[in-house]
Symmetry: C2
Subunit: 321 residues, 2 copies
């Protein structure tokens, strides 16, 4: 912690994060942040709140990401939950657990990453908490508002399954880092892993069109299964339609890594793409149909008439990334 | 983690925490919680949001508290920030970092403690996050609403300084635990440390009366100094008035511990009493005048005409409790 006391650090972060935003009556430095309800959420709108933790050794490894990346990723991962709800960001709270001996330069790098993401998401950091601890963790609460929030429960048989954003890039990027291959051809994937973007605009474009939505944080197989379970339906992903969405950077990296791009798309995670369902006629621009909803349960991948269950994905309690 | 997967654990917590409350449209299990803005905060009201972390080895030590105590205390500490804002609780998000190998029995104990506090505070847990990690931590986000939020910045010269709740009990209780004295005469203090209560009703009683408020989490010396700094005034605590508030359990425990009760009242922390300022004529029932506000800076303790600066208290980055 070098020479910084808690108060000095709060002041420093207050200066870094302390942007004035519409509806924010009171930001960092008091017992709590205060948001004007009428300014931040017009009558009839709902409040949306979510929290996401990023823990050293579980969600990140400083061999593969800088502290600035870590702060950036932690923030975008939290903001992605707002995207999945079709919510507009209002503000965020940042709770940091900082290891003994973490330098003020290191804290600066971490918080610059958070701040960069916060600005990109137009979601100001309006409060937080700082604590000492044995391992670095960043817990981000995001607050948003939504006229018609998108849950995971509304998918109905007969609807299409939509994908917004690219799948597998982040997973391939992380695999590149682990095997030490980060040449030019792989840079795009590595960057996708280090600097994911919450698809907030895309989430808003789903409002009034999609029946259900989820962000793909744990891999398509896991998150499609979650959506299927929550809605009480079966999600059918069509292999050919999914393959047609693959980014050329994913295909190039997969070749070098000698893995199938499908592997990364289904199991990779951390892309923060959006998976949604809805009637074909309501599909928004930018959403690609990759399957359909039918009666049944679970998520399956279809090749012609053959269907295989989709399993796997990331369980935050079981594996280390 | 024994046999519990992330999904099983989320389901278990959803059953434990999943109370239906007015204005909660969507609780645990989706990407985010959804609150009806109009139901939860009537027009003109503000939203209040705060986050507080409780980290093993920093905020608690399992030699002195059960996991149920730990969950309970973490929740009340977070809720206390709503009390200090004069806010009514709406809901909370719980982000848990659970060490490898933590049993489902242990997780049950922790979350039963959280749930007990949540019910007592009438602040339902509506969402959260679960992660694995090297050390146990509980990060609680509380959401509330306030017609006229109380900040730390409004204290004005000439006003009284008010105390609601007892000071020093928790600090004395913790000292008892550390020296291994927990006999009958000390039980009240130990209980005050293990099971602190956020003074939510008292916080609401300050609305329209107090000019500024803060909760005493780090000791009166530290928190009075914070209030003075935020308001740009001097807070004068009158020693005789403060001493007159001491609880008989504090006096008894201090005698056994051979420390001054004043020591615990000024430096103890974790009582979650409320310190506020306001005009004498507006002092609410239950608030005791313990000093006054004047021009100047910092917090001082006055004995007759003599004034000594109040220093010390808990810096979460520097010391281990």
């Amino acid at each position: 912690m070098a020479a910084l006391s808690e108060r000095q650090l709060v002041r420093r972060l207050s200066e870094r994060f302390g942007s004035r935003a519409p509806g924010i009556q009171l930001g960092i430095g008091d017992d709590a942040a205060v948001l004007s309800a009428s300014a931040a959420a017009p009558p009839g709108a709902s409040w949306v709140a979510s929290v996401d933790a990023s823990v050293q050794g579980v969600h990140f490894d400083l061999r593969y990401a800088t502290l600035e990346d870590v702060g950036y990723r932690a923030f975008q991962a939290a903001a992605s939950d707002l995207a999945a709800m079709g919510a507009a960001p209002v503000g965020a709270l940042s709770a940091l657990v900082l290891p003994r001996g973490m330098s003020s330069v290191a804290i600066d790098a971490l918080t610059v990453g958070q701040q960069t993401a916060s600005v990109e998401c137009a979601c100001p950091i309006i409060g937080g908490n700082i604590s000492r601890g044995g391992e670095l963790s960043i817990t981000t609460t995001v607050l948003g508002r939504a006229d018609r929030p998108l849950s995971r429960t509304g998918a109905r048989p007969g609807e299409q399954v939509w994908l917004i954003g690219a799948l597998g890039l982040a997973g391939a990027g992380f695999a590149c880092l682990r095997v030490g291959s980060t040449g030019d051809a792989l840079g795009g994937c590595v960057q996708a892993w280090r600097r994911p973007r919450a698809l907030l605009e895309a989430g808003l474009s789903l409002v009034g069109r999609a029946s259900a939505a989820i962000d793909v944080s744990d891999g398509l197989a896991a998150d499609a299964s979650q959506l299927a379970r929550a809605s009480g339906v079966q999600i059918v992903i069509e292999r050919d339609l999914l393959r047609a969405t693959f980014d050329s950077r994913l295909i190039g990296a997969s070749r070098i890594l000698r893995r199938s791009p499908m592997h990364f798309a289904l199991l990779g995670g951390e892309d923060y793409a959006l998976l949604a369902t809805g009637p074909a006629l309501k599909r928004p621009l930018g959403a690609v149909a990759i399957g359909h909803v039918r009666r049944g349960q679970g998520a399956v991948i279809a090749t012609g008439a053959h269907r295989a269950p989709l399993r796997g994905g990331y369980d935050h309690l079981k594996r280390t990334r």
